[in-house]
């Protein structure tokens, strides 16, 4: 039994690997877009423009109040119906995860920028820095330490949440696992493998986040 189980895993490996690659690709793209969008969101929120703030608050609350799964269905099934616009399931997953992740990373960035002493901004302005220079050289580098650990935690949540993509038909590691189970009925074995897959990707990240948090809290 044990040996046949291992054998099954062994022969399924290429297939599982393909699924895992899809999962990782969706996650990595979403993490990259979330980071870019999140920094943009965080910076925009600290500019003090009322209209911009209202728009971004609405965006944030929409992604806080509505589950990612509902967003996935909404965009994947809703867009073709209401706008005649259909996106491939892979990119739909990336889009939703990125928008959701950007709102989460964005709040982290906003909080980190907000916590800096106001004098840093004024000192930067008083030597004639432009807005982008002020953020690029003075504010964001200082916010980096404070925002990195919670941002890594958002990354692990993006990776885990990417598993929802299976529900709009993306053939990711979960879907591949399900297909193997349908053929072989080895659900414990396959789900065990999926367990290890997610654990070994996410655990180092959250451990790193803890270490950084502890190290930088002392500095």
């Amino acid at each position: 039994m044990a040996s046949s189980g291992l054998e099954l895993l062994w022969v399924s490996l290429p297939q599982l690997g393909k699924g895992a690659a899809q999962t990782l690709l969706i996650s990595l793209l979403s993490i990259a877009f979330s980071t870019l969008g999140g920094v943009l969101y965080g910076v925009l929120r600290t500019l003090g423009n009322r209209l911009v703030n209202v728009v971004l608050r609405v965006y944030l609350e929409l992604f806080r109040a509505i589950p990612v799964l509902v967003w996935l269905y909404l965009l994947f099934f809703g867009l073709p119906i209401f706008f005649g616009l259909s996106i491939p399931s892979f990119w739909c997953a990336v889009l939703v995860l990125s928008l959701w992740g950007a709102s989460e990373v964005g709040e982290v960035v906003r909080g980190a920028l907000y916590s800096l002493p106001r004098g840093q901004r004024e000192a930067g302005l008083s030597i004639g820095l432009s807005g982008p220079q002020l953020y690029g050289y003075v504010l964001l580098p200082q916010a980096l330490k404070r925002m990195t650990p919670p941002t890594i935690n958002v990354y692990t949540r993006i990776i885990k949440t990417s598993s929802l993509a299976v529900l709009i038909g993306v053939v990711d590691v979960i879907k591949v696992g399900q297909q193997i189970i349908e053929r072989t009925y080895e659900s414990v074995l396959i789900y065990g493998a999926l367990f290890l897959f997610f654990f070994f990707i996410c655990y180092p990240l959250s451990a790193a986040s803890k270490v950084l948090e502890r190290r930088w809290a002392q500095a």
Binding site: L125, S126, I127, S130
Partner: protein
């Protein structure tokens, strides 16, 4: 010669509250003007309007002939010409002393690295901190940090320097080292606007003293005249708080030779 800085009927509001009321003040090039007044009277706001950290409301404020209330004012240029030093230094904690000083000259003024470094080095020597060039702000005392902050502004080659209670956050034994630097600038003929609660320093460094209260300029005089013979009751009360003018008029004379 026309004034370098000229406030005329200048007003500033925070919401409903008017914190600067019809300010008239002109500063000639090379002049050292000390602004005194009780807490909350608008001294900081006055300085901050001058380099655009606060938006003016109405009236006129001219710098080197240009109206700063004009919507087209290029504040980045004005700020290079008007350096400002703050009470709590606000050095950039993630940069070394040298990087703090060079950020403006290199990124804003796009100057030659060699030339800017040489100037930074000279200025550091001048304030006695050449050996701290590669230190980080957290490794320095308050007095050292404040001297670096002054150098950071000076290295932009401004025409004017604004000092807003730059010794107020310092331990007493460090006040002198900072004030000496400012006094040196005054001696070199730099235009300075200084807000301070150090009365002896004000008296020693000022060409003119401006006394403010509740958003208005109440007095405007030479330091000797102001400290020995304040015109308004409010200024007298203010000075008494610093026990500089004794309540007994005859003692004023004894103080004079300081």
């Amino acid at each position: 010669m026309s004034a370098l800085i000229e406030f005329q009927g200048f007003n500033k509001f925070f919401g409903e509250a008017q914190v600067l009321k019809g300010i008239d003040l002109s500063v000639q090039s090379g002049e050292v003007v000390v602004i005194l007044g009780p807490s909350g009277c608008g001294k900081s706001t006055l300085l901050r309007c001058l380099n655009g950290l606060e938006a003016a409301h109405s009236g006129s404020l001219r710098f080197a002939g240009n109206e700063l209330l004009d919507k087209r004012t290029d504040w980045r240029q004005v700020r290079q010409d008007i350096g400002m030093v703050f009470q709590s230094y606000h050095l950039f904690p993630h940069m070394s002393v040298l990087d703090n000083i060079l950020l403006g000259p290199l990124k804003v003024q796009k100057r030659d690295t060699r030339e800017a470094r040489e100037q930074a080095q000279k200025l550091l020597e001048r304030v006695g901190l050449a050996d701290k060039r590669d230190a980080f702000p957290r490794q320095l005392s308050g007095g050292q940090q404040q001297r670096i902050a002054i150098v950071r502004s000076l290295c932009m080659n401004p025409q004017v320097m604004l000092f807003d209670e730059v010794t107020a956050a310092l331990d007493p034994e460090m006040v002198k080292e900072v004030l000496e630097v400012i006094q040196g600038l005054a001696r070199d003929g730099m235009t300075l606007l200084i807000v301070t609660h150090e009365m002896a320093f004000a008296r020693a460094v000022a060409d003119r003293v401006v006394f403010m209260e509740a958003g208005r300029i109440l007095e405007h005089n030479t330091p000797e005249a102001f400290f020995t013979n304040p015109q308004t009751a409010r200024a007298q009360q203010f000075l008494e708080k610093f026990s500089f003018v004794s309540t007994l008029p005859k003692k004023i004379k004894e103080l004079e030779p300081i």
